[in-house]
């Protein structure tokens, strides 16, 4: 333990001199980098807009309260679309992710080259946000729910696929060997050796992703891919803040309920 001697008194210290200097240097460099970055942002900011931000915000809140309750009636259809985008998108993603995960897991892949291709699919899907997928798909498929479903599905492949193949790699090899020793076919080994072991985590991960997708599907509408985001965009464009606050309230409740469902299903599975 480093001890500083002040005359006759001994003071305990957390770090010795070099450690302390290094730690200060680290903080200094970090702070300098952050300040430098902040400078760039400050240069690109129109401060006159920022100056009246509190006023804007208070306007926004004042006009958003109370929410326009009557508007709720026109929101049921978009809400139903949003739920469908999330659910069908998750199903689509999981349906593709399960075979991909088996190809990507070290203990089930037929060939290392196949493994790398499967990993590439997973990484590629994970790196592109669902909103960007939606942006591209709206160009191809036209605006609508279909583009949203595909965008959510494409993004979900990577997320669920990664967690699936990690679960497959972590299984206990003994039951698999036992099933194989009975002379079972490859399909039988898969369904009696692997499946029972990975099924709980596949269900758990899918439900977890569904709950994330509910959140994501509220925004794909902003680029035209269906759901409640379309109403949100329209209401913001015409500055109807009482409608915006109604939409945000509905989104908040939907996300809250879906999170609760997902958490209780996962608790049941474990």
């Amino acid at each position: 333990m480093p001890v500083l001697e002040k005359g006759s008194e001994k003071v305990w210290q957390k770090r010795d001199r070099t450690q302390a200097l290094l730690s200060w240097l680290g903080w200094l460099v970090g702070a300098a980098v952050v300040l430098f970055c902040w400078q760039i942002i400050a240069d690109n900011t129109n401060w006159s807009f920022v100056a009246d931000a509190p006023e804007q915000a208070s306007h926004m809140i004042a006009r958003g309260i109370p929410p326009n309750w009557g508007y709720l009636n026109t929101l049921w259809q978009p809400l139903w679309d949003t739920l469908n985008i999330a659910t069908l998108g998750t199903l689509l993603g999981v349906a593709v992710a399960i075979p991909t995960a088996f190809l990507a897991a070290r203990n089930t892949t037929p060939h290392p080259i196949v493994r790398y291709i499967a990993l590439l699919v997973i990484v590629g899907s994970r790196s592109v946000n669902s909103l960007i997928w939606a942006l591209l798909l709206v160009v191809v498929l036209g605006p609508g729910v279909l583009a949203g479903i595909l965008a959510i599905g494409l993004r979900s492949i990577g997320f669920t696929g990664k967690l699936f193949y990690e679960a497959i790699e972590e299984i206990d090899p003994n039951p698999v060997e036992a099933v194989a020793a009975t002379g079972a076919s490859a399909a039988q080994v898969l369904s009696y050796g692997f499946w029972p072991q990975v099924m709980p985590s596949i269900f758990g991960v899918s439900v977890y992703r569904w709950d994330i997708n509910i959140r994501e599907s509220t925004v794909v509408g902003l680029v035209g891919a269906g759901g409640i985001g379309i109403q949100l965009q329209a209401s913001i464009n015409i500055l109807r803040w009482s409608q915006v606050s109604m939409i945000l309230l509905v989104v908040f409740l939907t996300v809250f309920v879906s999170e609760w469902i997902s958490a209780s299903v996962r608790r049941l599975l474990i």
Partner: protein, 268 residues
């Protein structure tokens, strides 16, 4: 030994849900929902047929990424994204530490806990893009709105996980510090912080990754960064440029992910 299988009896694997009523009810309910959901998806074959041509153009564009004709826009967009990420992660973590401590039930009284948990829940419910729109309305277009959005998202994420971490710490060390007559702050710095610091650094790096990824998206609604450049290039049908931007985003995200996961592994 001869095999004695009773005729008409076969082994079948146990079911996930024991109660047959619930099992079949869920299954039938699920099928009805699926049918209704699929029926409500309107597919416009004419539009898709026309879109396929454009889809072909996109594919062609993606095989031939064009990094050069909009080089300056791409570079400034990428730099803006990185800068936004650095600032937002730093501010976000600084704000998250007190909120995370306040959200740990073993350190603070109930009212503080509830307030901090409410902040966390609010920040986690809304998708970043929705927050970004509101900030753009308030602060005008540009990177500042993006930074505020990312800070907002980071606070919910980092403080929730930090709070859970603090709740799981070893109470014995805290008690030992407290037994020396230490104040609350001293208990925090010598009893709690050393136990959660490695995790906090890991979380911050992880959030840095996420922020970089998000910064590519919130630009679509005007909050600065590479997303704005990407959106513009798609609107102008410059798919070669769009593909170059996407490839750069993927490369950048993967690079930071590799670095941050390597650092996180060394910390644990």
């Amino acid at each position: 030994m001869t095999q004695t299988t009773l005729p008409g009896r076969q082994w079948s694997p146990p079911n996930l849900i024991e109660n047959p009523w619930i099992r079949w009810g869920l299954l039938i309910g699920g099928i009805i929902y699926l049918v209704l959901a699929l029926l409500s998806v309107d597919v416009n074959p004419g539009r898709i047929a026309r879109g396929m041509e454009r889809g072909g153009q996109i594919l062609v564009g993606f095989v031939q990424p064009d990094f050069f004709s909009r080089r300056d826009n791409i570079i400034s967009g990428l730099i803006e994204s990185l800068v936004m990420t650095v600032v937002a992660t730093a501010i976000g973590v600084v704000i998250s530490v007190p909120i995370g401590i306040g959200g740990a039930r073993n350190l603070v009284p109930l009212p503080v806990y509830l307030v901090c948990r409410l902040v966390i829940a609010l920040s986690r419910t809304f998708q970043e893009v929705i927050i970004a729109i509101l900030f753009v309305v308030m602060l005008g277009f540009g990177p500042l709105a993006g930074v505020m959005t990312l800070v907002f998202g980071s606070v919910g994420f980092v403080s929730k996980l930090l709070a859970e971490n603090i709740e799981e710490i070893d109470a014995a060390q805290v008690e030992a510090i407290r037994a020396t007559g230490a104040s609350w702050m001293q208990m925090l710095t010598y009893g709690v912080l050393p136990q959660v610091l490695p995790r906090l650094v890991g979380l911050s790096l992880y959030r840095f990754d996420i922020n970089l990824r998000e910064s590519a998206v919130i630009g679509i609604v005007g909050a600065g960064g590479i997303g704005a450049t990407l959106n513009t290039s798609i609107q102008r049908y410059e798919y070669n440029t769009a593909s170059a931007i996407l490839l750069l985003i993927i490369a950048l995200v993967m690079a930071t992910e590799l670095v941050s996961s390597a650092v996180r592994q060394r910390l644990q």
